[in-house]
């Protein structure tokens, strides 16, 4: 996959990605919704393919995941879950070259902001469907 370089809004955090998985994914769970302000989209990349510099704050959003942001401007950087092989779920907005990466999947679709629908024929899973396949999840926030 194509390499890409990115940075946060203020420029203090830089990211050098040598390869990514070539698709984006959306999560509408209540925690992702609250953390992003509405729409969580990520582009997954392997741990070894991501180099980061700058003032990164890592917030443990649960026992099994962290969410990172720039200490200066608050730009969101990534989500990482222990049960997802340690890959980075990077925020595409950090990378100019991520604009055209296609959306491949949408999970927790039944929890999406009520006025928000993403058209297309990508894969979709409800909260129940997704959690049935991911037994380590204890359920969505209210």
């Amino acid at each position: 996959m194509t390499a890409m370089k990115g940075h946060c809004l203020c420029g203090a955090v830089t990211l050098d990605v040598t390869a990514h998985r070539g698709f984006t994914a959306v999560c509408h769970c209540r925690m992702c919704q609250r953390w992003t302000g509405g729409l969580f989209i990520c582009v997954p990349a392997e741990e070894a393919d991501v180099q980061v510099t700058g003032p990164v704050v890592r917030f443990a959003s649960s026992d099994i995941a962290e969410r990172a942001f720039c200490a200066t401007c608050g730009s969101h950087l990534w989500f990482r879950g222990e049960n997802s092989d340690g890959h980075y779920a990077l925020m595409p907005g950090l990378f100019d070259a991520a604009r055209d990466i296609p959306l491949r999947s949408e999970i927790y679709v039944d929890r999406a902001l009520p006025g928000l629908a993403l058209p297309g024929d990508h894969r979709r899973a409800t909260r129940a469907e997704y959690e049935a396949k991911n037994a380590h999840l204890e359920g969505d926030l209210q």
């Binding site: 940075h7 509405g38 401007c73 730009s75 902001l113 009520p114 928000l116 297309g120």
Partner: protein, 129 residues
């Protein structure tokens, strides 16, 4: 961070400008509320994203809170997802659609304004803020 807001409308708009995308990761979903009804507690950090606007977030978890123009009494443009009650929120406008990434889109027949069209409504120079 906790806050209460009054006169919260049941509609939100989506902004696809380069600053919103860089700071939120994708589009910013916003609900505008009047400043007079806002009461906030907690560790709020504010970043001046331009000479005429700023963006605030939680210093602990990074959750985006709001966008404001640097005008006395300016509305708080709240990040929709931080509201406890999301019932009935409707997407009624998209702005900066000319800079929206090609990889995703939002359904609906609401108005879609380009950067030039939106900035004309504010009386501000063009460019993300």
């Amino acid at each position: 961070v906790r806050f209460t807001a009054s006169d919260v409308p049941r509609h939100m708009h989506a902004c696809h400008c380069s600053i919103c995308r860089r700071i939120s990761g994708s589009a910013a979903m916003c609900v505008n509320v009047p400043a007079a009804g806002m009461a906030v507690t907690g560790e709020v950090r504010t970043y001046a994203s331009s000479d005429w606007a700023s963006r605030s977030f939680c210093g602990i978890c990074g959750t985006p809170l709001w966008y404001r123009l640097n005008r006395e009494g300016a509305d708080y443009s709240l990040a929709a997802g931080v509201l406890d009650d999301l019932t009935g929120l409707v997407l009624d406008q998209e702005i900066y659609v000319d800079t929206k990434p090609a990889g995703y889109a939002f359904a609906g027949d609401h108005p879609r304004l380009t950067e030039a069209e939106f900035m004309a409504t504010l009386g501000l120079p063009e460019g993300p803020a």
